[in-house]
């Protein structure tokens, strides 16, 4: 039996009732009196000089309250990494992708705002386009930004161990490549923002963001406002997966329009704008050379990667580092060399997306492991089991694995999928089975800006009425369920029922929390919530101890009641006072153990407000080499999956029949939610493996910027998904918990690719693996 009352259960989400009845409010569901509507004029050219912007006709349109251009944003640059601020809110002299923001309007209706955009005249001088990474790196390529020589935003050159020396120890050395396409995050809720500014200069923006904290900072910096006068509130958010983690021009524009007009302004992206804004998955070109010994032990990895990141840097520095650093695990690999290049092109900017930077690198490496296993005539799962690391080990790039259920996860999927009996040589034609592993951070070890800030703080206010608590946190529930996590941890730590915990979150006024990215919230905000709840509990029990004469160590709160180890625990006076002030109330305790309602109310009588506080800051992590901070984390998640597929050898069509996944989340705060994260991760990975691809024409225009043309998995495409939870009890996480939100995507693509090879005997080195690519490969093989 579990030692927990609340944790490790399948408690329904705290927001489920509101979401299933339509009551939950997302940003576009909000409206306020006198609200204006913002709209943005995007560049129709992928690369051009702006010669002239004439807004005079738009300004005269009745109902238009403001038109803004770069003249309203003089000299302001912003972005994600402070070392690479390269974006303007509104372009002054040059546009770099179809979608770049040029002007914006606030009007009394969305229709008028859009009509006003049509009246803005822009004269361009077209410039030569760069639409792929190789062209960007060419010697004579035009330069998209003055500061990025050869169009390189960031280079990484890492060397751990000694690859040259290791080469001679390897019995087999092979080189493989994998190329992917830009992916769209395709969250269901288009970005929206609603901003207003009060008479004292306090700015409030409601936004569909993943990271109120970073948005607050960017707004304050770009708009030159004191940080404490900028409040960012995240209502319900309809998915993010990464692209909503950075401040957008749209958010800044909405605030500028609100400041300029003195009225609240709401701007909502349409679906095409979501695609144009992007900030989703980069395009990756990986080349890996790996050496192994005859017994299958890994000797070295030499890895080159080029990332096409579109027009601006966005998260690109972190992306190119992650693409290299996260191959440090989950296997024993002593020698690793990495050369990474993140370049700019005239396409929408890419940023972070689920499994940031590491997904395609993982796919390339795990496919290569299968090819090595084939050469060695080894079972691919056995090859992996031979190399997996265990808790207590440190990778060659100095990532310490404080808990690590990799072996357990791999064995679990092997056994549950009945791998050994399916991986036989006489299986039916077109049927295949493949396995792969994954490795991911459980929260970035450092914030995006250089700072000694706490990464998460939580304030738990004990209701002065008695009976419940209110958890205040800046953490961003974007659908992954962090509000439920905060409520469950608080209830457990304080010893009260989940139903007596209310969560206020996603508001930069409430606490510092860096946001929903890098799979950090459960470990970091969860830690802070546990600390805050324990602090509140201690304060209440101190008051009770002092009143009753009981020893503090003998007192506890469990399931909503105060317990005492000794018999002489006299609660009569507390109970008497409580009854007196609750005449006419029903359900007031008359007998039995002291309730939390009585104890917490009494503590208020004695001490005034009882407020528990908690915070989380990671220890100093990482090596001393350049870029060592990216990839560090207080803990690492790991996962394994087995995919079973059927390939139609005539049409090349792939049907995924089943995916069995196991993920080490340390400890499942909520078992249903952990499974949900695993299943959603598999869905996104499966889409990227088989169908998802942003397509461009020769002018740099996205030709499939709709959710119909951009193919992604529907209920009919998804196979049954078996989710196995592995719990390795992470010492640095609250109750042993660590990530599941992103790590679970890592094995999906390579497990499917390995299964397709098993089914067809052909390898495809370009994603997505469409029926056309399979047919072509089968034809080539003959």
């Amino acid at each position: 039996m579990s030692d927990f009352n609340v944790l490790n259960t399948r408690a329904p989400r705290v927001d489920a009732h509101d979401k299933v009845t339509g009551k939950a409010k997302y940003t576009d569901d909000l409206s306020v009196a006198g609200m204006l509507f913002g709209a943005i004029l995007h560049s129709s050219l992928a690369h051009a000089r702006i010669l002239k912007i004439d807004t005079s006709k738009a300004e005269k349109l009745p109902g238009v309250k403001a038109v803004i251009t770069h003249l309203d944003t003089p000299g302001i640059v912003f972005g994600v990494s402070p070392a690479r601020y390269d974006e303007q809110i509104l372009a002054s002299d040059r546009v770099r992708y179809i979608g770049d923001e040029i002007a914006a309007v606030a009007a009394v209706s969305p229709d008028i705002a859009r009509r006003a955009l049509d009246l803005i005249e822009v004269e361009f001088e077209e410039l030569p386009l760069i639409l792929d990474a190789q062209a960007a790196l060419a010697e004579d390529a035009p330069q998209l930004h003055d500061r990025y020589k050869r169009n390189i935003v960031q280079e990484v050159h890492w060397h751990f161990g000694d690859v040259e020396a290791a080469r001679s120890q390897a019995d087999i050395i092979r080189t493989d490549e994998l190329t992917s396409k830009m992916q769209d995050a395709a969250f269901l809720e288009p970005q929206a923002a609603l901003a207003s500014c009060d008479g004292r200069g306090y700015l409030t923006m409601y936004s569909s963001t993943q990271a109120p904290h970073y948005i607050q900072r960017t707004l304050a910096m770009a708009l030159n406002l004191p940080l404490h006068k900028v409040r960012v509130v995240k209502p319900a958010v309809g998915g993010g997966f990464g692209p909503k983690a950075s401040c957008s021009s749209m958010e800044l524009i909405t605030c500028l329009l609100a400041i300029k007009t003195g009225a609240p302004v709401k701007t909502v992206f349409d679906r095409e704008e979501v695609f144009l804004h992007s900030r989703a998955r980069h395009q990756f070109y990986h080349k890996m050379t790996t050496g192994v010994k005859k017994d299958g032990s890994l000797v070295f990895l030499e890895h080159e990667c080029t990332l096409d990141g579109g027009a601006y840097c966005s998260f690109g520095i972190a992306t190119v580092y992650y693409a290299g650093s996260l191959l440090g695990g989950p296997y024993r690999l002593a020698n690793m060399k990495y050369d990474g290049y993140r370049v700019v092109t005239n396409k929408p900017a890419c940023g972070a997306q689920r499994g940031h930077g590491a997904v395609i690198a993982r796919a390339c490496f795990e496919v290569q492991l299968d090819r090595i296993a084939e050469e060695l005539k080894m079972d691919p799962v056995e090859l992996r089991l031979k190399n997996v690391r265990e808790a207590g080990e440190t990778t060659c790039n100095e990532l310490y694995l404080s808990s690590f259920g990799m072996k357990e996860a791999l064995e679990a999927v092997r056994d549950s999928s009945v791998w050994k009996s399916k991986r036989v040589s006489n299986r039916p034609r077109g049927k295949g089975i493949g396995a792969a592993c994954g490795f991911f951070v459980s929260g970035a070890g450092y914030p995006i800006y250089q700072s000694k800030t706490h990464h998460a703080t939580v304030v738990t206010r004990v209701a002065e009425t008695g009976g419940g608590v209110i958890v205040e946190s800046g953490a961003a529930d974007i659908g992954q369920g962090s509000d439920t996590m905060l409520a469950m941890i608080t209830a457990e730590a304080l010893g009260i029922p989940l139903s007596d915990v209310k969560v206020h979150s996603g508001d930069s006024d409430l606490s510092v929390d860096l946001g929903a990215y890098s799979s950090r919230t459960t470990l970091m905000a969860g830690w802070a919530a546990k600390e805050a709840a324990e602090d509140a509990k201690r304060q209440i029990l101190e008051v009770i101890a002092s009143k009753t004469g009981a020893k503090l160590d003998d007192l506890d709160i469990k399931a909503g009641f105060v317990t005492c180890k000794t018999e002489d625990f006299n609660i009569e006076e507390i109970r008497h006072d409580h009854r007196l002030e609750h005449r006419g109330f029903r359900g007031v305790a008359l007998s039995g153990p002291l309730t939390f309602a009585e104890a917490s109310r009494f503590a208020f009588h004695e001490r005034g407000s009882i407020v528990g506080t908690g915070s989380y800051k990671p220890p100093v992590l990482g090596g001393s080499f350049k870029g060592a901070t990216v990839g560090t984390s207080p803990a690492f998640g790991c996962s394994a999956q087995v995919a079973e597929v059927t390939v139609d050898l005539e049409t090349g069509e792939v049907t995924v029949d089943k995916i069995t996944g196991a993920h080490d989340c340390g400890f499942a705060i909520n078992r249903t939610q952990v499974e949900g994260q695993m299943q959603g991760s598999i869905q996104m990975g499966m889409g990227e493996a088989l169908m998802e691809e942003i397509k461009y024409d020769e002018a740099g225009r996205i030709v499939n910027a709709t959710l119909a043309e951009y193919k992604m998995p529907t209920a009919m495409d998804m196979p049954p998904l078996e989710a196995i939870i592995i719990e390795s009890h992470e010492p640095n996480g609250p109750y042993g918990a660590k990530e599941v939100g992103e790590g679970a995507i890592m094995p999906t693509i390579p497990a499917i690719l390995n299964a397709i090879y098993d089914a067809t005997g052909v390898r495809i080195n370009e994603l997505p693996v469409t029926p056309e690519r399979i047919r072509e490969a089968l034809k080539k093989r003959g």
Binding site: P12, V20, F187, F241, I478, G676, Q683, A715
Partner: protein
Amino acid sequence: MKKIISLTVNGSPHELAVAPNRTLVDILRYDLGLTGSKKGCGIGDCGACTVLLDGLPVFSCLVLAVEADGHDVLTIEGVSDGPNLHPLQQAFVEQGAIQCGFCTPGMVLNALALLNGNSDPSEAEIRRALSGNLCRCTGYQKIVEAVKVAAKTMSASTVRE
């Protein structure tokens, strides 16, 4: 020129003056304040705006408000019986079929239409019925499970009655 339309929404009659180019989803959301119907694409690709029109699921972003004149509309706000969740909603809550929740209203209404016409759908029938409603969070697994559970609960309660 605006046109006067009369329609029933969640059992209540409404009379509205609407421009001929306005969609049903827009008048539900922005005129009647029923923001439970979500707008994920505006062009009938995602299914988040699904409502029942005379009992049949439609993408309300593809229905002009004037086309709803004289008809009966059920939105997510009208599915529960006052404070009591419909068994289908209850199943979504308990099975963990909800993450970000943006697809949930459309999913529930489409599944409701399925169950109203087929009290014991197979998994394939459920998946086919929901294939026009995109979800990016759940992998659909728990949504499908919720519909199965709801089908059982609803059949059991019908038998009892």
